[in-house]
Symmetry: C2
Subunit: 220 residues, 2 copies
């Protein structure tokens, strides 16, 4: 029984890793949708979110089932609870990719992003991918040391968002209200995507070490 | 033991109701902060969020403790799991009030909301309060019938947000980029606050009836 139990714990972890893979794909395609006004990429992100939600639900069902059947304590209980939180974060990362895809869809066939901001948005997309890839690796390797790096990695994303906002607020900003709204919201969605990736890593640290990283709250 | 157990389930419910009270206070004060450029109201919302987070954490600890000790099944397990989701929604409603308060704080001593949009934003604030009050009542009374009304109540909020966006996109819109950004984000935060209130009500329906309302996913 005990063996099955640990197999089920591992299965939770496998599903989390799969969620990071899907979230990475979603944000990459959402960035393409946004920059290239690519409607089929946008649709793909929107419909693909169901799979992320399904995994989140599976993790939840397994976790509650494990708790009810096994009455885990200490380390095992912490592993289950942190897995639930990580799944919640990844589910919301998928949602943020969907929000970005919907901006693209709303403006199609135009691009929502003015030409001179393309490189910043592209960089935010890359940074988002980097963060979720790294989150997946730390979960796969239960690597609390690398997990602690994500907070600093995310500073880069925050800097990019500030850069984006400065450009919008620049007196030379000559784009209309729609572009202002789209860029404002897109910037926020990338930033939140990054925050959740950091939160996945922080949960991993707590899972492995039992110690909470600075400013960490278990729930995002 | 069984009695203590049901007392603990009731205690979960009491904490949820308290969270709706705090979330209502938060969104009311956030609206004041926004409309009156009231810095102390903004600070109150921001620092008051800790109490909402603390309740969420308490609910989580109790719920996991109950599951681990009691191995509840069927109805009781569903009650615990839906309570966890409702707490998560209410915690995020508090966050959205904080986001609104931070817009107010950022623009202080100016108001972030142009005069001609004050009445729409005020109405969104009222609608947000109405939704969270009603969510609190349906939780308190386990009233699945009234809970089903929230979806339609929230349509009012969505209409207000669309009205707000139309005003921003109107050719006569003469406010700067900062106002465009602030109003765009504030509109989104009110809308999300409403969505989470509906989600609390939907969880209550699922808790009481075992049937999922249309388009309902347990996690927001």
């Amino acid at each position: 029984m005990r063996d099955t139990y640990h197999e089920e714990l591992d299965a939770l972890s496998d599903r989390l890793i799969e969620m990071t893979r899907l979230a990475r794909h979603a944000i990459a395609r959402a960035t393409t949708a946004l920059l290239d006004a690519d409607l089929s990429a946008a649709q793909e992100v929107i419909s693909g979110d169901e799979e992320i939600n399904r995994l989140d639900e599976e993790i939840e069902v397994s976790a509650f089932d494990l708790m009810a059947r096994q009455q885990p304590v200490a380390t095992d209980l912490r592993a289950i609870i942190t897995s639930l939180h990580m799944a919640g974060d990844l589910e919301r990362m998928g949602d943020h990719a969907v929000h970005i895809a919907k901006i693209a869809r709303r403006r199609h066939p135009d691009s929502a992003i003015p030409t001179e901001l393309r490189s910043i948005v592209l960089e935010m997309g890359h940074q988002a991918e980097l963060l979720v890839i790294k989150a997946g690796e730390v979960v796969a390797n239960r690597d609390a040391e690398t997990a602690l790096e994500l907070d600093a990695d995310d500073d880069r994303m925050d800097k990019l968002r500030r850069k984006l906002l400065r450009r919008i607020l620049d007196p030379n900003w000559e784009h209309g209200v729609e572009a202002t709204m789209d860029v404002t919201l897109a910037g926020r969605f990338y930033e939140r995507f990054g925050d959740h990736a950091v939160h996945v890593a922080d949960n991993l640290v707590y899972m492995v070490t039992g110690e909470k990283p600075k400013d960490f709250e278990p729930e995002a």
